[in-house]
Subunit: 196 residues, 2 copies
């Protein structure tokens, strides 16, 4: 069964990929807005995980909306949630049996409620699977330590491949580094660079 | 890392076992009240899955309480939930890094809320993992079809190893088959009999 997994190259989506690849033919899908080529960092991690990769472009209007929301809010949550839902809807259009993402039990954002999951499944006739949603942060960290080589640090230093990097770039375009810091204070990122 | 998985021999907990055994040293633990020897059906499925097995006895007072609750309610939900929580608390006392169960996203009972999960983890210094909680019923059925040989049918015919079978037996002792049917109408069970 084919499964398209939303993939950033970070710890969570990499671990989700390892879990699912025992049961599905997983393609790692990195969504982006055509703003930067940071999706290529996710492609490099996909090669490390030895899984097929595709970059998929999203609707730039959604990026503009999300950036506007984040700027008004002064925090990223609602903007990220909007983009994540758009990414899931986009990937759900593919000809696959299932789609998935790396959301954890303790994630506040992005989050996909049971009702949203059911709605995605019914409207697109696919399964939506969040394999880490039954794992807390501690369990994910311990599994990642055991199985993955992970770099982590502030977002400026760790280049991942997901839409978040581009949303930062869009904030930066208009308001400089300060606009990014207003929305994303002290944000730590992870990038997977190898398997153990 | 050692993980103790609550195991009935049914489809859900067997699939949870397959998912987790890639990442943990899984022991399948069937809890029972010493009422019947139906736990041996779970042991047979554990042999099929080639995973270590243990039967663990629970507090009989909890069974009596649960049966009383179910009889008063006329449905099994609250009684089953009470026993499941007791089973998790009991297994969490073991010297393991993690415990788990086979609850699905769409299960109404047993269910373990995010707050309950966190509380279990904090009080017992373990991880609690519900690997199927990010999978809907459809996805679980499709994965089970692909990987497991499953028998299914009404509870009278399919003997599983979990505490539910014993709760039925306790209801039957006092009120006969009618008392069981009052609480559990048309209940379908599954038992895993092989790997594909």
């Amino acid at each position: 069964m084919d499964l398209a997994l939303l993939f950033s190259g970070g710890k969570d989506s990499s671990l989700a990929a390892l879990l699912l690849s025992e049961f599905y033919d997983v393609t790692l899908v990195t969504t982006h807005f055509g703003v930067t080529d940071d999706w290529s960092h996710a492609e490099a991690t996909a090669r490390t995980l030895e899984l097929p990769f595709e970059a998929v472009e999203l609707d730039q209007d959604v990026a503009a909306e999300a950036v506007e929301t984040m700027r008004e809010d002064g925090f990223p949550r609602n903007g990220i949630q909007r983009v994540h839902e758009h990414a899931l809807e986009t990937v759900a259009e593919r000809d696959v049996a299932a789609i998935g993402d790396g959301t954890r039990r303790d994630d506040r954002v992005p989050s996909v409620s049971r009702a949203q999951a059911q709605s995605l499944e019914d409207r697109h006739d696919i399964d939506y699977i969040a394999p880490l949603s039954g794992f807390g942060r501690g369990a994910v960290d311990r599994l990642a330590d055991a199985r993955l080589e992970v770099e982590s640090g502030p977002s400026e230093d760790i280049r991942k491949g997901d839409y978040e990097t581009e949303l930062r770039a869009l904030l930066r375009e208009d308001g400089g580094e300060e606009a990014v810091r207003d929305v994303f204070p002290d944000h730590t990122q992870t990038r997977v660079v190898g398997l153990r």
